[in-house]
């Protein structure tokens, strides 16, 4: 294709080659540049869309009423929009998921990176990564059919469809990310550190506890944040197993509707540009702000950690 662009046969072959090469270089350069720009354009587009569609919701419902209102009746006349219960539900579900997945995930990563023989690690790690590939709707089914009856009988609840069930399923979904990223971080800790620790007479446990994990803390923090992000943003599973009650949940064993589930269960019947449509986009805007905040905090922590070790 490119060869045909220089039909001039009188030029020396070397010259042709050089020109072709330069043209190719230019093309690749602009291709990469476009790809780079595209992500920024898409991100900006999403922000603009969220603001454009979501902000008008605050004309109808003032922001404080929207944030702290506990009544969500989008199909009533007139509709009422208050998202406290969704917000609290998201907090509960994320809290449960984090509380379960972080200790298990970090412990598992420490085992794989520090204790397990190479053979075990090489078999277990791919299996854990397969867990990350299970579609969320399948996790929802597992939660619905296997976990929710268990949770119901174990905690003597009225229904197994509750925040706790959703949180446990979410923890299973964020575990692979946490394990995988933390394990990489732990393995990146230089062996000198471990050897120095052993030389001082520390046991394996003391080395892991006081040398390896602190050394890899920045990576582990990033892993935890990725896991939290996954838990906040996950939709299908929580839609299926969290129960979807509109009351503000006071305990994780209450049925609840996290923000993502509220958007998913309402967006279909919202007419483009209608009040409910705008309100759902406003929820999306708030969700976006939360994940942005999580990422910024993670960034800060990472930065501080790096500086601490750069002494």
């Amino acid at each position: 294709m490119i060869g045909k662009t220089s039909p001039d046969t009188t030029t020396e072959p070397k010259e042709i080659l050089r020109r072709r090469w330069r043209l190719g270089e230019k093309l690749i350069e602009s291709w990469i540049f476009l790809a780079g720009i595209l992500t920024i354009v898409v991100l900006l587009g999403i922000i603009v869309l969220l603001l454009k569609e979501g902000l008008p919701a605050f004309w109808y419902t003032p922001p404080w009423e929207f944030l702290f209102g506990t009544k969500w009746y989008p199909v009533s006349e007139p509709p009422t929009f208050g998202i406290t219960s969704f917000f609290v539900a998201t907090l509960w579900v994320t809290l449960v998921a984090t509380a379960i997945s972080v200790p298990i995930g970090v412990a598992c990563a420490a085992y794989l990176a520090e204790v397990a023989p190479a053979k075990v690690r090489e078999t277990v790690k791919p299996i854990i990564e397969i867990l990350a590939g299970i579609p969320s709707v399948v996790m929802g089914f597992i939660g619905l059919l296997l976990l929710s009856p268990l949770v119901q009988s174990a905690f003597n609840l009225n229904t197994g469809l509750c925040g706790l069930t959703a949180g446990i399923m979410l923890s299973l979904m964020s575990l692979p990310i946490i394990i995988s990223v933390s394990e990489d971080a732990l393995r990146a800790v230089p062996d000198d550190f471990r050897e120095a620790s052993y030389a001082l007479g520390a046991t394996k446990w003391e080395t892991i506890r006081h040398v390896c994990i602190p050394g890899a803390l920045s990576g582990i923090t990033a892993a935890v944040m990725l896991g939290v992000g996954r838990a906040i943003g996950e939709t299908m599973t929580v839609l299926m197993v969290a129960g979807g009650a509109l009351a503000v949940p006071v305990s994780p064993t209450d049925p609840m509707m996290p923000m993502t589930a509220a958007i998913a269960s309402g967006i279909g019947n919202a007419v483009r540009g209608g009040l409910q449509y705008q309100a759902l986009f406003a929820i999306g805007l708030i969700l976006f702000a939360i994940t942005l905040a999580v990422n910024l905090i993670a960034d800060r922590v990472l930065d501080r950690q790096k500086r601490k070790f750069a002494r």
């Binding site: 090469w21 093309l27 009650a245 019947n269």
Partner: protein, 282 residues
């Protein structure tokens, strides 16, 4: 080296061309296609009709999906579906929105549904009045012993707001439309579980002795027990069946509808209605 560099340039170009070709082929794919979207309740019925129609007209493909009546009506208004199936009538505000988009909703009743209220077979309660149902779903009654059952908490299950059944049940049962006790300000209580599909609700009731849910007649299975509904405390309880829906004695019967943009031609298929478990028009 040179070949590799060239590959770098050619590959993306080939990928883009392939993508464009794929899009063209897919969008112009042979035969015509019809899209039906809307009520979860009507979905089994539309699916049977669609299969039948595709058997006799192999060149037509029909896709049926049932996320909820509200979704169907929104799609009709936005012009993204051919037929909207609904288990509630279209609201005036929705007609206005449709007309603003140059869409003229045309209503066709395709069947009747006796909206059934079901509980677990082990539940001793066998009939409820509309007022009791309303109180259960507003959260005023929270224990089965208040309506003659065991001393256990009620797990009230509803559909989410996408659902026409959600809206129909709210207007006709929760707000008691047409009864002297009608109260337009009543809403579902905060304790009510809103589930994304009718199947999930039925399976929850089948596995939970304390649960109550309202599926369409076509979704009632052997694993759940339909309740007899009493319009008022003095009237006799009526079970949801084809007969009681046809003769008008069942209090919460409702039309199942198709909406199209403008009037379509030729409507048949009533013999299939009863097979799916709903009530034919005559």
């Amino acid at each position: 080296m040179n070949i590799r560099k060239r590959l770098f340039i050619i590959l993306p170009v080939v990928a883009v061309v392939a993508l464009i070709v794929a899009i063209i082929v897919l969008s112009s794919g042979g035969g015509s296609s019809i899209k039906i979207i809307g009520s979860n309740t009507v979905t089994p019925l539309s699916s049977v009709w669609a299969e039948e129609f595709m058997n006799t007209h192999p060149d037509v493909s029909i896709s049926v999906s049932g996320p909820g009546s509200g979704v169907g009506i929104a799609a009709l208004i936005d012009g993204t579906t051919d037929i909207c199936q609904a288990s509630r009538t279209i609201k005036q505000s929705e007609i206005d929105q449709a007309e603003a988009n140059d869409v003229e909703p045309y209503e066709i009743q395709v069947a009747t549904d006796a909206l059934s209220v079901v509980v677990h077979p082990s539940n001793p309660v066998s009939e409820l009045t509309t007022v009791q149902l309303s109180a259960i779903y507003t959260g005023e009654i929270t224990n089965w012993d208040e309506v003659g059952g065991n001393d256990v908490e009620i797990v009230a299950i509803a559909r989410d707001t996408n659902s026409g059944t959600h809206v129909f049940f709210k207007e006709h049962v929760v707000q008691m439309q047409g009864l002297p006790t009608e109260d337009k300000s009543l809403e579902y209580g905060g304790n009510v579980l809103m589930l994304p599909s009718t199947e999930e609700g039925v399976s929850q009731v089948a596995n939970n002795p304390n649960a109550i849910f309202y599926p369409g007649l076509g979704y009632v299975t052997e694993e759940v027990k339909p309740l007899a509904i009493k319009r008022t405390a003095d009237s006799t309880g009526v079970l949801p069946t084809v007969q009681t829906a046809l003769n008008g004695t069942y209090p919460i019967a409702r039309p199942l509808l198709f909406y199209t943009n403008g009037e379509p031609t030729g409507v048949k298929g009533q013999e299939k209605v009863i097979e799916v478990g709903y009530v034919p028009l005559q």
